[in-house]
Point group: C2
Chain length 360, copies 2
């Protein structure tokens, strides 16, 4: 068995130790005589798995006690509707900061539920930078301000936390959750699809401050209502049990590695190897402004687009896959989430040098 | 390792062969160097897994070509809102036939989206029978008629297909999908959570006739809009990839067993062992009318409620778990889906006889 270096933007590579444990426990979890997949979500075995996963989220992210941790379904695209259905009713309007394809999609979807104010947009820079907060046009009456902390397609990431005063800050952290320490108390709500840094697709993490719960629009489905789910401990409907179990194993792995500070150091080191090489090379380049460069998704361009196919083919032959950039921006993209080992990035840079030597 | 006989109503027992294969392929699916969990949903590997799962659904259920097969999220409770958000807009109203806790919940949720007519209810019989169609008060202008083909809590199941004329029949088949052959052409839409007969929780199967797609209310989230998902081959948002993979393995297992006719014979044989014993016993009894008895969920009562605890404890000691009935009806419930082997039911009846001999 040879494992590849998988640079997919998501679903993405997972720690090998987690996959090994999942394989070993597949037919019989801890002597229960069952797979986790087969467990009633109301049984004591799964309740313990669920409680441990929640406790680890609280510990790793430092979630204050006045926030609920919910495990939901529908991914971040689901939350694009679920967030406004739950929060926009307070004043009927919300601010959106658009920094790329994902936050653009979020803003568009929210329009079905209230008035959406485009508080700022990075469109002028072709989404290669994040607008400074001094340029944002915030509405003090907004129900919330929505940002996307890391844009997987453009590869821009906030390296600062916006200050939205009394208006709750809502962040889609799908692609950088658990990659670095954050101050949860600065946010009203954080959501994230699991399939980048936490586990399999089909699970959404929501961390929401208590006072934001209970204002859902009447058309909000019960299964996607934060109040219903908070009151039922995320079990108003059957939760995605196996995905929660895998995420719990990933959380334990992160903790054993030293928690989010260790993850941040690991991610900074990996990204530096790649960006340093991009900056010194005359064959490759990063299109993103230095202060907004993502530690998770690193888009880059070759000097000549016509070489893209050969580059991808050569990478594939060396066991490095999913390096093709999103069709909307072209070029390449290396997604280097928590579970990408430094060896993967070193192997990529070694290959890039070799390719440059051949084609430069 | 000793595997238990797991009588959970869902998530529920899965075929051991499926779990073994999943364990073996966990770190490296078919030489890809990745777990299925790690695969991009846009990559050729996962696209092949997804296409095969869909093809097997079409083959096993005999889905006509003018129906779409969608893999979604949110479970049946999610669909309680998603169905009316997509379908009720046609005339603004819908008929619901209430035969137990699940269809009652469906009818209640639909009221947020249009006018709900309670066309019939089994409440007078305490949900131990299904009202005859001659007693239903159907509205010819309804956008659809909703039924639940099998109620997991009360243990009643339709053994006939309602005739709703030109009005589309919508069925929640969460707990009996793939357990017997059905004529899909008699339905406008079928939905089912995966966690009883198909795989892990977190995956919803939707089979919907083409002409019912495209009438969603403006407040329907894109991720839950049948049109958006049909146009994107269920990949408008990242689908629950691992759950689809496991469901695909289960579908292959069902096919290898002889398909849905073989499943029906297997399920009839298992249920007969249990019901025959319940009918001959003076210690246990089935509360359900004979013509409505479920082949999937068999609730039963002991002569004396005070013995319930001892019964459950004794069963657990023999490796038979999750036999406690739902709190709303009390007593016992044996859920005997496709993957429950006949040995499990025989072991249960042997234990019931032993318990009766001791306490009768």
């Amino acid at each position: 068995m040879t494992r590849v270096f998988n640079f997919s933007p998501g679903p993405a590579t997972l720690p090998e130790a987690v996959l090994r444990q999942a394989a070993e426990e597949m037919l019989d979890w801890h002597g229960s005589g069952m797979s986790v997949m087969e467990m009633s979500h109301r049984g004591k075995e799964f309740i313990s798995i669920h409680a441990e996963a929640e406790a680890l989220v609280r510990e790793l992210l430092g979630v204050p006690s006045n926030y609920k941790v919910l495990f939901m379904q529908g991914g971040a695209i689901g939350e694009n509707a679920i967030v406004p259905m739950n929060l926009i009713g307070k004043t009927g309007k919300a601010d959106y900061v658009v920094t790329g394809d994902w936050s653009k999609k979020s803003a568009k979807e929210a329009k079905s539920y209230g008035k959406v104010n485009a508080a700022a947009s990075g469109e002028a820079s072709h989404f290669t930078a994040i607008p400074k907060q001094s340029e944002w046009k915030l509405d003090p009456e907004a129900s919330y301000v929505h940002i996307c902390s890391n844009e997987t397609i453009g590869g821009v990431q906030y390296h600062w936390t916006p200050d939205t005063g009394a208006v709750p800050l809502v962040a889609d952290m799908s692609s950088d959750i658990m990659s670095r320490p954050i101050d949860v108390s600065r946010y009203g709500l954080i959501y994230a699809g699991a399939q980048k840094n936490m586990g399999p697709s089909g699970l959404t993490l929501v961390v929401v401050r208590d006072d934001l719960i209970g204002h859902a629009l009447p058309i909000c489905p019960s299964a996607f209502n934060y109040q219903t789910q908070a009151e039922a401990d995320s079990m108003y409907n059957t939760p995605p049990t196996y995905a929660i179990y895998i995420a719990g194993l990933v959380f334990k792995y992160i903790k054993a590695q030293g928690g989010l500070k260790a993850m941040e150091a690991h991610n900074q080191a990996k990204a530096a190897i790649l960006y340093d090489y991009l900056d010194e090379s005359r064959f490759y380049r990063s299109p993103v402004a230095r202060e907004a460069r993502s530690l998770m998704n690193v888009p880059f361009k070759l000097k000549d687009d016509a070489l893209d196919e050969a580059f991808l083919k050569g990478a594939q032959a060396k066991g490095m896959i999913q390096l093709k950039g999103h069709r909307s921006v072209g070029g390449m993209r290396a997604s280097i989430y928590n579970a990408m080992p430094v060896e993967g990035v070193k192997a990529l840079v070694a290959y890039m040098k070799e390719f440059e030597a051949q084609h430069g």
